[in-house]
Amino acid sequence: MTNQTVLATTLPVLDLIDFQKHPNRFLNKKLISRALIFLPLLLGVGVLFFMTTVTYGFLGLALWVLLLLVSLFISYQEYFIRGYILREHDITYRHGWIFQHQLTVPFNRIQHTEINHGPVDRFFNLCELEIYTAGGASSDLIISGLDPDDAARIKEFISSNVVTHD
């Protein structure tokens, strides 16, 4: 085992252009599931049409369309922000459009990793990679919407690099 001195200044600075995008399927999944969430609300608009005047009905419909469009727009924007960078010793994840987060977890602080396939994810041939650190859930990294092969490769890479302290 070699243990050469590495100066902090010689470590490369995170290049913000290098973020790996999620597959396009993930955008489709997000948009479709967002739209599906809004479907039941359409029932409420229908009720407005029948129970009150048509004006209120149209107002409700307009509000519904507006909310749907805003929600879809946010999902769409989020997709282009979301991404990860895998480096030799750490993983960085960026997500969120209104609330933008960027979290870097060094491999030597990772406790264990997990891959989850939900039914919806499976339909789109996607999966979720969960990276757990010790203590609270706040520094856990949950990367949803990865290609299963990629996720397996990342998981393998991380676990081969995790330093055990025992």
Binding site: A8, L103, T104, A134, G135, G136, S138, S139, L141
Partner: protein, 520 residues
């Protein structure tokens, strides 16, 4: 050393302990039954029901005592419990993080104590042996502790033989031996609080908080017994509400009419708050003692409910100092020590109610084995951003209020709203001005708050991850929030210059990557 190779039961007094616990529950059931009973006709059935529960409550403790055993088998502590639903818990001894001895009032009367065994990481794995003879609990704690170090050393030793010994390993073994040699050294009392100290602490508590607590308890209690009281003596507030309605109808309410009662209520509230502060402080911190024993920190405290916490020094992640204006005048600070733990378990943090400045430095030295060096690098947030944010939030409430009061020509309300605005702006600006992150060679220090200032110290090698985040509204201003995650929780400060924050995150991150030290 006690022999635990065979399944051992708890103290026989545990039957009494369980019995008392069940009786407490039973009293509640009886109370609810009495409430629920509408007439004496249905009383027969509820009596039978209660008698049935009572019989179970009496027999269950004996069964529980009989079927609760614990023993050590092949470096694992094994606990068997349960009669109908059998449960077997096992904890590898080298996974034990900390062992606590707790005593509540009932346990003190019976002179038994409960032993709590914590394993970090996996949640729901905590083990409690509720009723042991006090001396036996102490002996068991020591046995487990010495066994766990023995196991750890043995595993290190075999590593050493099996692999070609790396320098790293040899150093670890040497460290372990050193620790083992230091072990027999007498435990050193780091600090102790006497009655005078407690008096000062009680006097400088946050009385508003205790007053609020007392008020909450009273109100909560009142809502619970309201129906019951109303059933027997009628609603005592019935007439009061009518009176109020009457006065509102007949003439406008003049504040001077109520001035006397308002002043009396205020004075009463102050006295009760201070009294509650005293009671809470004395019951919680009575006979507070902190002992440094080898590589563990032991803290004992409590008047009725005695609490004894053992925390391995290597598990300490964050050291915090809190203060308030009253405490600041006496030169005291409150310290909180956080250790690595899973989030969903109850907090295992140690609180040291009063530290003098000398003590602050000593605690720092003790916990992290390094003195606090002067900071090389300081990050200041933008105080105007703090002010802007709190003004936005206040506007949600105050703008409607302002509009309404001007519309209704209630100028006093308008003036009050404007005053609250100015006060908010002033306080939040000052908070923003004091907030800062300092980074030394081996520590990150957060300064937070203004009237209630907090100092948060964590060694850089204990950091787990750094997060930068912001809302889309401050992208334009090139500002960003800084979030530091450790195994004992996250600490957050807001509105830093983006470039500076990124540079700091990068430098902390590199330091973490390069460190070989175990962080928990």
């Amino acid at each position: 050393m006690i022999d635990l190779s065979l399944p051992t039961r708890q103290s026989k007094k545990s039957i009494l302990f369980y019995l008392f616990k069940n009786l407490k529950g039973l009293a509640l059931v009886a109370l609810y039954a009495a409430f629920g009973m509408s007439s004496w006709a249905t009383a027969g059935w509820s009596t039978v029901f209660i008698a049935g529960i009572a019989a179970v409550a009496l027999i269950a403790p004996i069964l529980r005592y009989y079927f609760f055993t614990f023993h050590i088998n092949a470096d694992e502590l094994i606990i068997n419990e349960g009669f109908l639903f059998k449960q077997r818990k096992s904890v590898p001894i080298d996974r034990i993080q900390s062992i606590n001895i707790n005593q509540n009032v009932l346990q003190r009367l019976l002179s038994i104590s409960s032993l709590e065994i914590e394993t970090a990481g996996s949640s729901g794995k905590e083990i409690e042996i509720p009723a042991l003879e006090f001396a036996f609990a102490k002996a068991l704690k020591d046995t487990l502790k010495s066994k766990s170090t023995a196991v750890n050393e043995a595993s290190l030793g075999t590593d050493d033989l099996a692999n070609t010994a790396t320098i790293e390993n040899q150093k670890d073994v040497a460290d372990a031996q050193e620790v083992a040699q230091e072990k027999p050294m007498v435990a050193k009392t780091v600090m102790q609080l006497d009655v005078a100290d407690l008096f000062k602490i009680a006097l400088t508590q946050n009385h508003l908080k205790s007053g609020g607590l007392a008020l909450g308890v009273v109100v909560g209690f009142w809502f619970q017994i309201k129906d019951f009281v109303a059933k027997f003596i009628g609603d005592p507030f019935e007439n009061w509400e009518e009176d109020l309605a009457q006065t509102a109808v007949t003439d406008t309410v003049r504040i001077t009419d109520y001035l006397g009662s308002i002043v009396i209520a205020f004075v009463l509230f102050c006295i009760v708050s201070i009294l509650v502060s005293f009671v809470l402080t004395f019951s919680k911190y009575w006979d507070f003692k902190m002992v440094h024993d080898g590589d563990n920190l032991e803290v004992q405290m409590g008047l009725f409910n005695r609490r004894e916490v053992k925390m391995p020094l290597s598990k300490v992640q964050i050291l915090e100092f809190h203060s308030n204006p009253l405490r600041h005048m006496l030169g005291y600070q409150t310290a909180r020590i956080y250790q690595a733990q899973s989030q969903d378990t109850k907090s295992t943090a140690i609180e040291v109610p009063a530290c003098k400045p000398a003590m602050v430095a000593q605690l720092q030295q003790l916990l992290f084995n390094e003195p606090l060096e002067t900071a090389q690098h300081e990050l200041k947030p933008n105080p105007w951003s703090y002010m802007r944010f709190s003004l936005y939030i206040m506007s949600l409430f105050l703008l409607p209020l302002l509009a309404a009061s001007i519309y209704l020509e209630q100028l006093t309300a308008a003036v009050a709203a404007i005053l609250i605005y100015v006060l908010t702006a002033y306080v939040s600006y000052n908070i923003g001005k004091r907030n800062a992150i300092q980074r030394g060679d081996s520590f990150v220090i957060f300064y937070k708050g203004w009237i209630f200032p907090t100092t948060i110290i964590t060694p850089i090698y204990k950091v787990q991850a750094v997060e930068l985040w912001r809302s889309i509204f401050i992208v334009q201003r090139q500002e960003i929030h800084f979030n530091l995650h450790t195994a004992a929780g996250s600490r957050n400060l807001k509105y830093f210059k983006e470039a500076e924050a990124r540079a700091l995150a990068q430098s902390i991150h590199s330091e973490v990557l390069l460190t070989e030290r175990s962080w928990m």
